[in-house]
Symmetry: C2
Subunit: 381 residues, 2 copies
C-alpha cells in the first residue's frame, strides 16, 4: 500500500472514525484504525463492535485530486498515535507507505514517522446491511428526534433494552420513545418516504449520542437502512453502523395518563431557569427533589430544601393555571432535561394528581405525541 | 448585615476570590467566602492559607451606585453554593441580609435563597503586610516573568524550596529563577522603581500561576509589597497575598556553563513544532527522550524511538550551526517548555558537550540573562 493524500481530508476522516473507537475494548485490534486503498479511494474504519464508522475519501472530488495511489492495500494503525500524528504533520499532503511486516511509513514535509501496524485481514468484518428499503430523513429532523429523547434512556444495565431508544415506524410515522421507568420522552414525526413495512427496533442510546455528534446541522438528508440487528446511517462518504438491542421494548402507551386534573401553561425557558436555581441546593438530596406549589393569580412556587445547606424558593409567573390546586415534588434534573426538549417554547403541563405521572407538551399541540415528556413525581408532601 | 449590590460586580469578585479557595483545606471555614460590608464598600475574602485574595467593591464608582448599605456586618458563606447561586440569579441586583444564627437571605428578582453561614469572627486573619517599600511593575511584564519561569519549578516536595521561584532584587534589577535540578529558567529585568534594599525571596510556583490567571493583560501597573514571609500584589480593588517559602534557595549561577563548543541558531517556533512531533512517540518512554543530531548544511535531525510503537525523525533547517558536531538527547517536554518562553523568536542554543547542560537564549541577546533556559541532557548516545 502506498498513496499520497491531502492532510485535511485525512484528519477529518480520522476524527470521524475515532468516535467509534474505545480504548477499553476487549478486542485489541479495535484500538486501531483500518486504512485501505483501492482504485476508488481511501477508506478508514473505526469500531468498538457496537458502533462502526467508515469514512471514505475519493481519489478525485470536484476536479480536485485528493488521493494519488501508487499501490493498493491496507493496514491497521494504533488510533491514538495515528490521529495525534496526522493532526500535527507539517505539510498539506501526507504519504503513507506500508513496507515489510506491516511497518508503515508516514511522511509529510521533512517529518518521517514509522509506526508498527497490524494485519488488516485480522480486523473484524463490518456487519452486512443488505440494501433493504431505505428511509430518507432530513439531518436536522433526525438530530432533534435524538436530542429530545436520548437523555431519557436508562443509565443502568438492569433492563438492557431500556438503555436504548425504541423506534417504531408504522403508517409512515416514526415514533421514538425512551424511558428509564421514572420518566419518558416521546417524539413522533411523519416520514416523507413511503414505507410499507413496519419496524420496531431499539437503538442503543450511546450510538444515537455519537451519531448526533458526527452529524453537522444542515439541510441535507440522511439515509437509514435497517437489517438484522443493525441500523446503518448513510451520508455522502460516511457510513455509521449501530448494533440494535435485543429484547422487546415495553409498551409505554398505557403509561401516559389520559385524564388531567390541572393544567399549567408556562414558558419552558423561564421555568427551566427557575428549576435550575432551585436545583442548586437540591443536588445535596439524593433525588434532587424540587417542590412545586400553585399560588394565587396563576403563580407557581418552586422550592427546595437541603437541611445542612439552606433552602430556596421562587415564584414563577405562568400564563394560566386551571383545575385543582396542586403540591407536587419531582426530580429537578428530570424536569430540566424534559424542559430543554421544548427549546424555550410555551408548554402545557398536565397533572392528574400529586402521585400520578405528569406530562409536558407544546402549548396548543395538534398532535398530542409530537413532543411528549412524562415525569413520575417523588413522594414528599 | 444588609445591603443591595450589583450582581455582575458581585459575580466578578466571587470569581476572583474563589481562585484562592481549595475544597481540600484542613480548616473547614476556609471552604467559605468571607463577606463584610462597612461604610466604604463590600469586601470578599478567599484563602487556602497559602494564598489569600481580597476583592473590594466600593459603594460608588464613576458616579454609579454599586452598593446600597442598610446595615454593616459580615458573614462566611460556603464558596461552592454561594458562587453557583450568584451566577444564576435572575435580576441585575442582589440583596444580602444576615438574620439570626448566621442565616443569610439572598434575594434577586423572584428568587430567594437562605444559606446557613458561619461566624466571620472565626475566619483567620489575613497576614499583615505593613507598608514597606513597594515596587511598581507593569502587569504585562510581571505576567511574562511568571510565564517564562514558573513551569521549571519542581513538582515534588523533596526540596520544598525548589517548588518556588527565587526572586532576587538588587541594584534595581529583578532576577527570577526556577529550577527542578534537571532544568532551569531565568529571567532578568531592570525595574523602573528605585529600590535601595536587596531582597531574596522564594514565591510558591502555585501562587504565581494563580496570580497570572487573575491578572488581565493590559498596560496597568501592579504594586508589590514585601513583608515577613509574605508578598502582597496590589491592584485597584484586589489584594493578592502569598506566603513565601522558607529556606535558602541554592545559588544557581554556577550551574550555567560559561564556555560553549557548538552554537545552533534556529527559530523557536519551527523547532518547537518539530520537537512536538518527535514527542508524539517519545511520551511512551519515561523521560520523553528526543535525540538531536547535527547534519550537513546547517540542518539538524530530531528523532525519537519507542520500540513498541515506532520511530520518528525530522530534519529541521537552522539559520546556522557552528562548532563541534553534536549528538545529544534530552527530555522533549523540557525542551518544549523552554522554547515556548521565547514566543517564536529566533534563538541561540549553546552546547558544551553531549553530557553538559545546554543553554537557550534569544539570538543576539544583549544581556545574557534576559531570558535563559537551561536543560540537562539525558544519557543515551
Amino acid at each position: 500500500m502506498k498513496f499520497v493524500i491531502q492532510r485535511n481530508r485525512l484528519v477529518q476522516a480520522v476524527n470521524e472514525v475515532t468516535r467509534a473507537i474505545s480504548s477499553r475494548t476487549t478486542i485489541p485490534i479495535l484500538t486501531g484504525i483500518k486504512i485501505t486503498v483501492n482504485d476508488e479511494g481511501v477508506t478508514l474504519t473505526g469500531s468498538d463492535s457496537d458502533i462502526s464508522i467508515e469514512a471514505f475519501i475519493p481519489l478525485i472530488e470536484n476536479d480536485e485530486i485528493l488521493v494519488e495511489v501508487e499501490s493498493f492495500g491496507g493496514i491497521v494503525l494504533q488510533a491514538n498515535y495515528f490521529s495525534d500524528i496526522v493532526r500535527r504533520l507539517p505539510d498539506d499532503s501526507v504519504e503513507l507507505e506500508v513496507t515489510t511486516n506491516y511497518q508503515t511509513n508516514i511522511r509529510s514535509g521533512q517529518a518521517s514517522f514509522n509506526l508498527i501496524g497490524l494485519d488488516p485481514a485480522e480486523y473484524p468484518k463490518l456487519p452486512e446491511v443488505t440494501a433493504g428499503k431505505s428511509i430518507q430523513i432530513p439531518i436536522s429532523v433526525l438530530k432533534n428526534i435524538v436530542r429530545q429523547t436520548v437523555f431519557a434512556v436508562s443509565a443502568i444495565e438492569v433492563r438492557p433494552v431500556l438503555t436504548g431508544v425504541n423506534w417504531i415506524i408504522k403508517n409512515n410515522i416514526l415514533t421514538a420513545v425512551a424511558t428509564d421507568s421514572h420518566r419518558l420522552a416521546l417524539r413522533e414525526i411523519p416520514l416523507a418516504t413511503e414505507i410499507d413495512e413496519e419496524y420496531n427496533i431499539v437503538i442503543p442510546g450511546k450510538s444515537l449520542s455519537e451519531l448526533n455528534k458526527i452529524l453537522d446541522e444542515g439541510t441535507d438528508s440522511i439515509e437509514m437502512v435497517l437489517a438484522n440487528n443493525q441500523i446503518l446511517f448513510k451520508l455522502k462518504d460516511l457510513l455509521f453502523y449501530s448494533r440494535l438491542l435485543e429484547g422487546s421494548y415495553p409498551d409505554t402507551s398505557r403509561l401516559i395518563p389520559t385524564e388531567t386534573k390541572s393544567d399549567l401553561i408556562i414558558n419552558a425557558k423561564s421555568f427551566l431557569q427557575a428549576i435550575d436555581r432551585a436545583s442548586l441546593l437540591a443536588r445535596e438530596n439524593r433525588n434532587n427533589v424540587i417542590k412545586l406549589m400553585t399560588l394565587e393569580n396563576g403563580q407557581v412556587e418552586v422550592s427546595s430544601n437541603s437541611p445542612e445547606v439552606g433552602n430556596v424558593s421562587e415564584k414563577v409567573f405562568s400564563q394560566s393555571f386551571t383545575g385543582e390546586e396542586l403540591k407536587i415534588s419531582f426530580n429537578g434534573k428530570y424536569m430540566m432535561d424534559a424542559l430543554r426538549a421544548f427549546d424555550g417554547a410555551d408548554i402545557q403541563i398536565s397533572f392528574s394528581g400529586t402521585m400520578r405521572p405528569f406530562v409536558l407538551r407544546p402549548k396548543d399541540a395538534e398532535n398530542p405525541n409530537e413532543i411528549l415528556q412524562l415525569i413520575t413525581p417523588v413522594r414528599t408532601y
